[in-house]
C-alpha cells in the first residue's frame, strides 16, 4: 500500500531534479563548445563544429557588426575624432566593439570553474533523487557521470582532459588528506596504531610483491605477448596497484556506518601506506632503468623507507608547531586565522613532496600536531570556518577526482590485454585476502580486543583502490615503460571493480553480517532504559580507568605537553581553560537538571510542603496492581521516545562521517544544557502560575516593585552564609541537601574560573532566577534578574536557609519601606 506513494515521491523527486539536470546538460554542452572556441584565432570567421554554438556566434557577429553600421551612418560627428586617433596611434580604424567574445583570456579559470560547478551540481542531483543514492554509493555515480561527460566531449570531437597527475597530487589530493588528518579521531588512532602500521607497511609490501611476482610469472607464459615485461616492471606495477586508497575508502565507508574500530583501521592503513607506496614506486622506477640491482641498492631502498616516512612526519610536525605558534598571536586579526592553518599544512605537504618524502604523512602530522593548540587559540568562528572550509574543499575534491577518473577512462589510450588485466584483478583480491588473514592472525596475539572474522572480512573487502593508483601509473615515463597504457588499463579496471562491485555490495554485506542489532524487538521498556544506563556507566568507568596500554608514555607525553609545550603555543591563560570549562558546563547541567525535575522530588525539608506540590501536580497516575494495558500506541510512543532520545554513549554509534561536521561533545552537551535551562525557565513560569501563597496584600506591580527596589537584600545573595544557594528555584521544588552542596561547589568553582570569553548567554551563569511572565507595564529597570512576585521572594527567603535557623528578616520584604 505504500508503493504508489513511493512512486509518486520518486516521480516528484525526479521532477524536482529536472532543473538541476537541465542545468547540468547545458553545462555539459557548453564545455565542448568552449574547447573548440579556444582553439580558434577569432570567433567571427570560423564555422564551429557544434551546431548549437552557431546561433551564438551569429548573435555575437550581429552585435559586433551593428555598431559599425551605426557608426557609418553618422560620419560627420565622429570623423575628426577618428582621424585624430588614427593619426595618433597608427591603428587600423575599426569600429569600437561594444560586445566582444574573448575566450582565450579567461579560458583556464573558466573551465576550472565550470568543472567544479559540474561537480557540485552532481552532488546536488544525487541527493535529490534518494532512491538511487541509497543503493549505489556516490563514488560510483560520479564515475558514471565522468564517463558520460568524457563520452560527450569525445563525441563532439574534442580531446577530453585526462586527470593530470600534477593536478591530482598538488591540488586535488591535499584537501582530502588535510580534512582527514585534522579531524582524525586521535584516540582510536593511537590505540590501534600498532595494528594500523602492521597492515599498512607489511600488508602493502606483501601485496606489492605477491602481485608483482605472480604477474611476472604470468608474463613469462608464452603466447600472452607480455614476455617483454621484466620483473622490475611487474614489481613496479604491483606496488602501484597494491596501495589502498584513502579517497575511495572514505567515500565508500562513510556511507555504511561501520563501527569506529574498523573504520579507523582501514582508513588509517590507507593513509599510512602512502610512505610505503612512495618508496616502492621510486625504488622500482629507478631500478628499472638499471640493468643490475646490487645489494647496496636494496639496503638503500630499505633505508629510504625510514627516511621517507619519518622525514615526512618530521616535516609535518615542524610545520604544525610553527602553525600553532603563529596562531598564538592572532588574537587581533581573527579573520585570517583559518588561512594560517590551511597554508601551513599545504606548505608541509609541498615541502615533503619537494624532497620526495611522504607528503600525505607530512600533511597528517601537521594537522594532528597543530590542532589542539590552534583550537585553543583561535576564536570559535574561526574554528567553524576551518571546519566548513575543509569539508567543502574535500567534498569538491573528491567529487572532481571521481569525475575525472571517469573522463580519463574515456580519454586515455588503452591497451587491453585479457591475461594481464584478469590476472591483476584476481591476484589483487587474493593478495588482499591472504594478507589480511595472515596479518590478523599475527596481530591478534598482541591485541586485547581481537579482530573477529567478520572484522577481517570487512577489512579485506574494504581495500579499495582509487585515483592515487591511477595517477601514479600515469606518471610513468613512456620511454622506460612502453607498456604504460596496458598498465593504465589494468589499473582502471581494478579501480572500477573495487569501487563499483565492492563499493556497492559492501553495504548489504555489512548489514547481513551485523546480525546483532536486529533480534530484539520486544524488549521491555525497563530493559531499554537499563541497557542505556549500563552503557553510560561502562563508558564512565572506562574513562576513569584511562587509556589502555600506552598509558605510561602517553602520560609522560601529556605531562610534557602541559608543562612546556602548551605554555609556548597557547596564548595567555587559555592553556588552563579546557578542564575548567568542562567543570563549568557540568555545574550548569547539574543545576538545570535539578530545576527541571523539580516536579518529582520526594524530600522536602523546607516550609513549602508536599501539600502544595501535590495540589499542583495533577499527573500522577493511579497505582495499580496489575499492569494496566496501555494502548498499543502509547507503548509504541514510549518506545519511540526512548529510542530517539536516550543519550547515546559517545563512541559506539558515531563513527567518522565526512558529510556531517564532527560535533564537539562539549558543544553538544552545552547546547543540550542550554535547552534544558530554557525548559527549566518555562517550567518555572508554569509553576508560578499555579502558586497561590497569599501572605500579604500585594496588588499593583508598582508596590511590589517599590518593595523590591527598596530592599537591597532582595537581590544580593548573602555571600558569607555558608549554605546559601544563589539559585532560586521555583517554589514547588524544595532544595535537597545535595543540590545545596552542588551549588556550593559551584561557588567555589566559579571563584577560579576566568571570565568565559564568548558566552552569548546572559552572564547570569550559575544564578538562575525565577522569571515571571512580564506583567504589563513592567519597568525594565527592575525586571532583570530579580524575582518580581513577592511570593517568590518569600520562598527565596525560606529556601535560602534550609537550616532550622529561622530567618529573622523574613518579615522584612513585607514591610514596605518608606511607604
Amino acid at each position: 500500500m505504500m508503493r504508489p506513494a513511493k512512486l509518486l515521491a520518486g516521480a516528484f523527486g525526479l521532477f524536482r531534479a529536472l532543473p538541476v539536470l537541465l542545468g547540468t546538460a547545458a553545462l555539459l554542452g557548453l564545455l565542448p563548445v568552449l574547447h573548440s572556441h579556444a582553439l580558434q584565432p577569432e570567433p567571427a570567421g570560423v564555422t564551429p563544429p557544434a551546431h548549437s554554438s552557431r546561433a551564438l556566434v551569429a548573435v555575437v557577429e550581429s552585435i559586433t557588426t551593428a555598431p559599425q553600421v551605426l557608426h557609418e551612418s553618422r560620419p560627420g560627428s565622429t570623423a575628426p575624432k577618428n582621424t585624430s586617433t588614427a593619426a595618433g596611434h597608427g591603428k587600423v580604424r575599426k569600429s569600437f566593439p561594444v560586445l566582444e567574445f574573448d575566450y582565450k583570456h579567461v579560458r583556464i579559470p573558466f573551465e576550472i570553474a565550470l568543472w567544479i560547478l559540474l561537480a557540485c551540481l552532481m552532488k546536488l542531483g544525487f541527493h535529490v533523487i534518494p532512491t538511487i543514492s541509497s543503493i549505489v554509493p556516490e563514488s560510483c555515480l560520479l564515475i558514471v557521470v565522468g564517463l558520460l561527460v568524457g563520452g560527450l566531449i569525445k563525441a563532439v570531437g574534442e580531446d577530453p582532459p585526462i586527470l593530470n597527475s600534477e593536478t591530482f597530487f598538488l591540488f586535488l589530493l591535499p584537501p582530502i588528506i588535510l580534512d582527514a588528518g585534522y579531524f582524525l579521531p586521535l584516540r582510536q588512532f593511537t590505540e590501534n596504531l600498532g595494528t594500523i602500521l602492521v597492515f599498512a607497511v607489511v600488508g602493502t609490501l606483501w601485496n606489492a610483491f605477491f602481485v608483482g611476482s605472480l604477474l611476472y610469472a604470468v608474463c613469462q607464459i608464452k603466447g600472452t605477448g607480455l614476455t617483454d615485461i621484466g620483473l622490475l616492471a611487474n614489481l613496479l606495477f604491483g606496488s602501484i596497484i597494491s596501495a589502498v586508497d584513502p579517497v575511495a575508502v572514505l567515500a565508500v565507508f562513510e556511507e555504511i556506518h561501520i563501527n569506529e574500530l574498523l573504520h579507523i583501521l582501514v582508513f588509517g592503513e590507507s593513509l599510512l601506506n602512502d610512505a610505503v607506496t612512495v618508496v616502492l614506486y621510486h625504488l622500482f622506477e629507478e631500478f628499472a632503468t638499471f640493468d643490475t640491482v646490487s645489494i647496496t641498492d636494496i639496503i638503500l631502498g630499505f633505508l629510504s623507507f625510514f627516511v621517507v616516512s619519518l622525514g615526512g612526519v618530521f616535516v609535518g610536525v615542524v610545520y604544525g608547531i610553527i602553525g600553532a605558534f603563529t596562531s598564538r598571536f592572532t588574537s587581533h586579526i581573527r579573520v585570517i586565522e583559518p588561512l594560517f592553518v590551511f597554508l601551513y599544512s599545504y606548505m608541509a605537504y609541498l615541502s615533503a613532496e619537494l624532497f620526495h618524502l611522504s607528503g600525505i604523512m607530512a600533511l597528517i602530522a601537521a594537522g594532528v600536531v597543530m590542532r589542539p593548540y590552534v583550537e585553543a587559540n583561535i576564536s570559535h568562528k574561526s574554528h567553524t570556518t576551518i571546519k566548513y572550509f575543509l569539508k567543502m574543499w574535500s567534498s569538491v575534491s573528491e567529487t572532481l577526482i571521481f569525475i575525472f577518473l571517469g573522463v580519463s577512462t574515456v580519454a586515455g589510450k588503452h591497451r587491453w590485454n585479457w591475461t594481464f588485466v584478469i590476472g591483476t584483478l584476481i591476484f589483487c583480491l587474493i593478495a588482499r585476502v591472504l594478507g589480511v588473514l595472515g596479518l590478523t592472525w599475527f596481530i591478534n596475539k598482541f591485541r586485547i580486543v581481537k579482530l573477529t572474522p567478520k572484522d577481517q572480512f570487512i577489512i579485506a573487502y574494504g581495500g579499495l583502490r582509487g585515483a592515487i593508483a591511477f595517477s601514479l601509473g600515469y606518471l610513468l615515463d613512456v620511454e622506460h615503460f612502453p607498456m604504460r597504457e596496458m598498465f593504465l588499463t589494468a589499473i582502471i579496471t581494478v579501480i572500477f571493480f573495487t569501487v563499483f562491485v565492492q563499493g556497492m555490495t559492501i553495504r548489504p554485506l555489512v548489514d547481513l553480517l551485523a546480525v546483532k542489532k536486529k533480534q530484539e524487538t520486544k524488549r521491555s521498556i525497563n530493559e531499554e532504559i537499563h541497557t542505556q544506563f549500563l552503557d553510560h556507566l561502562l563508558t564512565g568507568i572506562e574513562d576513569i580507568c584511562g587509556h589502555y596500554g600506552h598509558h605510561h608514555w602517553k602520560d609522560k607525553l601529556n605531562r610534557f605537553n602541559k608543562k612546556y609545550v602548551k605554555k609556548c603555543l597557547i596564548a595567555g591563560e587559555r592553556s588552563k581553560e579546557p578542564q575548567l570549562i568542562a567543570f563549568y558546563h557540568k555545574m550548569e547541567m547539574k543545576q538545570a537538571i535539578e530545576l527541571v525535575e523539580s516536579g518529582g522530588m520526594g524530600k522536602i525539608p523546607s516550609a513549602v510542603s508536599t501539600v502544595s506540590m501535590q495540589n499542583i501536580n495533577p499527573k500522577t497516575l493511579p497505582v495499580e496492581r496489575i499492569l494496566p494495558a496501555l494502548s498499543k500506541d502509547k507503548e509504541e510512543e514510549i518506545r519511540k521516545i526512548l529510542r530517539n532520545n536516550l543519550q547515546k554513549t559517545r563512541q559506539r554509534l558515531r563513527s567518522y562521517n565526512r558529510h556531517t561536521l564532527v560535533a564537539d561533545p562539549y558543544e553538544e552537551a552545552w547546547n543540550q544544557m542550554l535547552l534544558r535551562r530554557q525548559k527549566a525557565r518555562q517550567l518555572e513560569q508554569k509553576m508560578n502560575n499555579y502558586l497561590t501563597v497569599p501572605t500579604h496584600k500585594i496588588d499593583s506591580p508598582t508596590m511590589s516593585r517599590a518593595r523590591i527596589g527598596s530592599d537591597p537584600l532582595a537581590y544580593d545573595p548573602k555571600p558569607d552564609s555558608e549554605n546559601l544557594p544563589i539559585i532560586t528555584i521555583d517554589p514547588a521544588s524544595p532544595q535537597s541537601p545535595e543540590s545545596v552542596d552542588l551549588v556550593n561547589e559551584a561557588l567555589k568553582g566559579m571563584g577560579h574560573l576566568p571570565p568565559s570569553p564568548e558566552e552569548d548567554e546572559d552572564e547570569e551563569g550559575l544564578v538562575m532566577r525565577a522569571k515571571e511572565p512580564s506583567s504589563p507595564g513592567t519597568d525594565d529597570v527592575f525586571t532583570p534578574g530579580a524575582s518580581d512576585s513577592p511570593s517568590n521572594q518569600r520562598i527565596m527567603r525560606c529556601l535560602s536557609d534550609p537550616g532550622p535557623r529561622p530567618d529573622p528578616e523574613e518579615d522584612e520584604p513585607f514591610i514596605p519601606k518608606g511607604q
Binding site: I525, C545, K586, K619
Partner: protein, 189 residues
C-alpha cells in the same frame, strides 16, 4: 609489562588487593599508575575534584553518580584500595566464576542498583527513576512524556505494588540482559 616499575614506591598492599579483587599484578600496577595520574596534588588519595577533572565524565549523563559511587558513606576522599575495589566490579567474568567474587553477576547488579538508588533505602523510588530518566533522555522529551515513561517503567517492574523497584525486581528485569558483558571492561581482564 610488570617488569618496568618506574614508580618510586611499589603499590601499597598489593598482595591483599590482588587477592581481594582478582586483578593481575600488571593490572594493579597499571591502575595504580592511573590513580597516581589522577591524583594531581599527590595527596595519596582522590577527591571528587580529581575525578571530575576527567573531561569525558563531565559530559556523561550519569557522570556524577559514577563519581559519587566512589565516595560512599559521605567520605571526602578515596584511597587506592577502595578505588580499585570499585573498579574490580567491572572485571570480565571468567567462565565458572560462580556467584562469589566482586565481579560476579550479582555483585555487578548490586553496584548498578546503588547508582540508581541514591538514598540507599533499597528501592528505586519514582522520584529517583524520574531523575535518572531525565538525565539520560534529552531535552526533546516533554515533562508529561517523562512522567508517563517513569510511571510505565515502574509499573512494569513493580510486583509488590509499592510503587518502587526493589533489588529483586530490578534483578528480574534485567535477567535477560547480558550483564556480564555489559558491565565488563576488557582491559581490566
Amino acid at each position: 609489562m610488570g617488569g618496568q616499575n618506574s614508580q618510586p614506591l611499589g603499590v601499597p598492599e598489593q598482595e591483599a588487593i590482588m587477592a581481594e579483587t582478582g586483578f593481575s599484578q600488571a593490572n594493579v600496577l597499571r591502575l595504580y599508575q592511573r590513580f597516581q595520574a589522577l591524583d594531581k596534588d599527590e595527596k595519596g588519595c582522590l577527591s571528587k575534584y580529581d575525578l571530575e577533572g576527567i573531561g569525558h565524565l563531565a559530559v556523561n549523563p550519569i557522570g556524577d553518580r559514577i563519581i559519587d559511587a566512589f565516595f560512599q558513606d559521605g567520605r571526602e576522599t578515596v584511597d587506592f584500595r577502595t578505588f580499585i575495589h570499585i573498579l574490580a566490579h567491572f572485571r570480565p567474568v571468567e567462565g565458572s566464576a560462580g556467584s562469589k567474587g566482586i565481579n560476579s553477576r550479582l555483585s555487578k547488579l548490586k553496584f548498578a542498583f546503588q547508582l540508581y538508588d541514591q538514598d540507599k533505602d533499597g528501592k528505586i523510588s519514582r522520584a529517583e527513576m524520574l531523575q535518572v530518566l531525565r538525565m539520560m533522555l534529552g531535552v526533546q522529551v516533554t515533562d508529561e512524556q517523562l512522567e508517563c515513561i517513569t510511571d510505565r517503567t515502574i509499573q512494569e517492574a513493580d510486583e509488590d505494588g509499592d510503587n518502587a523497584i526493589s533489588f529483586e525486581e530490578f534483578a528480574k528485569c534485567v535477567e535477560k540482559l547480558n550483564i556480564e558483558q555489559k558491565m565488563s571492561l576488557r582491559i581490566l581482564k
